[in-house]
Amino acid sequence: MSEGERARLMEEVEEKKKLIANIRNKPWRMKRRLKHLKEAQLFVDKFEGALGKGKGRKLYAYKVMMMKVLMGLPYGSIPRKTVPREEQDTAMDYSVLTDFNEKKRNWCRTYTLHKCSSNFKTFFTLTHHGYCKYSVLFYGYYNNQRTIGFLKFRLPLSYLMVGIGTFGYSLMVVIRTMAKNADVGGGDGEDSEFTFAWKMFTSWDYLIGNAETADNKYASITTSFKESIVDEQENQKDENIHLRRFLRVLANFLITCTLGGSGYLIYFVVKRSQEFANRDDLGWYEKNELEIIMSLLGLVGPMLFETIAELEEYHPRIALKWQLGRIFALFLGNLYTFLLALFDEVNAKLEEEKDIKNASIWFMKEYFANFTANNPNETGTPPPIEPADVIRGPCWETTVGIEFVKLTISDIQVTYLTILIGDFLRALIVRFLNYCWCWDLEAGWPSYGEFDISGNVLGLVFNQGMIWMGSFYAPGLVGINVLRLLTSMYYQCWAVMACNVPHERVFKASKSNNFYMGLLLLILFLSLLPVVYTIMSLPPSFDCGPFSGKERMFDVIIETIELDLPSFLGTLFSYAANPGLIIPAILLMVLAIYYLNSVSEAYKNANNELKKKMQMARDEEKNRRNNKDSTNQVMKDLEDLLPNRSNLPPPEEKKGQKPKVKPGAAGNAVNLQKDVSLASVNPNARGPVTQAPGPRAPGPGNSRGRGQGPPPRH
């Protein structure tokens, strides 16, 4: 055999081998594949032997099998091994809920840092005069010794640092998540090219085997189509603008009234609770009235907002954003009124403290006097006063902590009761009374409860805000919340499966969950404010808590710097704290923000330009293939100006080579042009289509093929 023949044969053998390797990727019928496979294998066996390779198919099969084993194919496929796209947007915002699991873990860590062993039994019986007040759940438990224990653990310092550190850590986590979401989701891109087409061809889930799931899927697809149709029609609708505007103004006015009303109600209840504090014969309701009212407002408010919002007739996505914004405002208003009322109380307690300070000094003196009077012969110091007898100051921090814990507990209670009554009982009634009722309970009112995703997510966000605020004064609150999250997860999971139907409007407030993250960030910031304010400006109680006896809470840090750290660090810090240094630093940061902002705007503009270019290129292709004139006026003018018409692109056939239209096709696994045998009805009747369909002869009188404009001017 000559060299050339040998080389050619080897090439053919290689080709056949490649065919064998890729035969499963070809869109052929099984019979055809089997036939070609056999042919190829015979060819390879015959000629590989002739070419002296000897081992032939066995080695090849061995190589293929090794590859399969290495890639794990028999025991798992590549798609199964790659990490699923966790940020895959689904119609339901469940992914947001998983972010909170991380938060849970975060809190667990800080909780154990306090080395607490909480008394869980008693927190359900919280009252002003209960035992819990003195447990480790609250601020007042901690002593103000500078270091405790054998390892000289600096309790006060650690308390402060952990308190502030959790805020800092939470800030970092939230912002990092937001940045990641913005990166992946590409922002709130609603301008997609193929909305309808994708909805049509990719919305069905081919793994569905359950009839009920299929029904749900049909419903959600229908809703999704309806929403897009509404979108389309909104652009073509024009209505009575003035009526709409008037209605919107009216709705906003009503809502502002509601917000104001709720704020006033809370203020009123707080004043009442201050009066109650002076009485002793309080029932359960009076003691917890404030918290119950707040939770109920949080329940009733959103429903009210939704009914009023019917007046406004916004697009559902926009309406959802408005709704969430209003609920947010409601919560904020309530919380801040609550805080203001609390501050009143704190100030009152601070006043009281002064009196008690004097009183306790007198008490001590009297105790000593009594002791020496009763035991005149003893010298030395008298035994310490029984702890239970010591007059205590009104520990305002613990009061604040107690209020937050009560708020959380009543929130839990209201939530659970709502689910029980609003969802479970309702489902029971609808299911069983339906048989003996005049109208169809399931289809009309009341029907089953819907699982309101946005409402639930907001509830979680607010809960987290309360925890952030309260955990500095009641460290055990974190533990309580973790328990609450755990139980509530299982409880709500059961409730959803048993009593709820999917929400009718299946769309999200924001594509990438950044909306909720933004809310979370805002709440974090707002909860940070009161805590930092109290740390910086309110004096701690004189006899309770880790900072007792100091002027301000952050004196602990100063003390540590002075006593524990080497002296040059102290001077360094004192320089750093100079306003002359801090103000330029702030200015610098402001400038950096401005700069980064302008850079990102520039990028956005560049992006838009590129998109426009791509769109133009696509339109041009379309027009050229249709043999129409360019629709772009600029291009048309340019064409008219061109003196020489032979500058136009060469003629193309209709379905011919289009490599540039397939930017996303993977490799050359499938050769589209040649093997479109599936398009035919009876593929066994003909062989593979290897030539482009249709005659190539140019049309009559058109000697230069397609893709031309008007005939050249002379």
Binding site: R29, T202, N210, V670
Partner: protein
């Protein structure tokens, strides 16, 4: 291992392994499923490649396909005679393409064929309307369905002939983020 040998010869199993994305174990399991659909018709012994086909009504009753609105079209797309009668070869082929190991472009070709209800090689407006109809049942009004199919045509049709060819379809689908079946 005794009973398995009598279903297929070793070289048959090898060939199937080369032609599909399945391993021999999975192929044998598929054969079991195929047989379960009609134990009286499908023989246990396939060593001499009997030419047995099962009608489409039997195949579409499988739990995996039962709820799929396109099940008839799927079965027809993989059948040799175009009427939905599947031999074992076609059966294996169908599941091989629908499995998660098949590459995207292969699935695109078959998806195109599945959605092409009138089998003319293009997705014309009627095909698209039929797809919408199957996905939404009677929930949408006829004019809404027509609006949807018109918008789809506008979005995806590149060469302006008011039909979607395979090229158009492929161009549109390969950019979709949800196209992972």
């Amino acid at each position: 291992m005794g009973s398995k040998h009598t279903t297929f010869r070793d070289d048959q199993l090898d060939e199937y392994q080369d032609c599909t994305f399945f391993t021999s174990k999975e192929i044998l399991r598929l054969h079991g499923r195929f047989r379960d659909l009609a134990p009286n018709i499908v023989p246990m012994d396939y060593t001499n490649n009997p030419d047995i086909t099962l009608p489409s009504s039997v195949i579409t009753a499988m739990p995996e396909l039962k709820e799929n609105p396109f099940r008839h079209s799927i079965v027809e797309a993989f059948s040799e005679d175009g009427k939905g009668n599947l031999s074992f070869n076609d059966f294996v082929d169908m599941f091989s393409v629908l499995s998660e190991m098949a590459p995207l472009d292969l699935k695109i070709i078959y998806a195109f064929k599945i959605y092409d209800f009138n089998r003319d090689g293009f997705l014309c407006e009627k095909d698209v309307e039929e797809t919408v109809h199957r996905l939404t049942g009677e929930e949408l009004r006829p004019e809404e369905r027509r609006l949807v199919s018109q918008r789809v045509m506008e979005e995806a049709d590149l060469d302006g002939d008011w039909k979607l060819s395979l090229i158009d379809f492929e161009n549109m689908i390969s950019k979709a983020p949800d196209f992972i079946r």
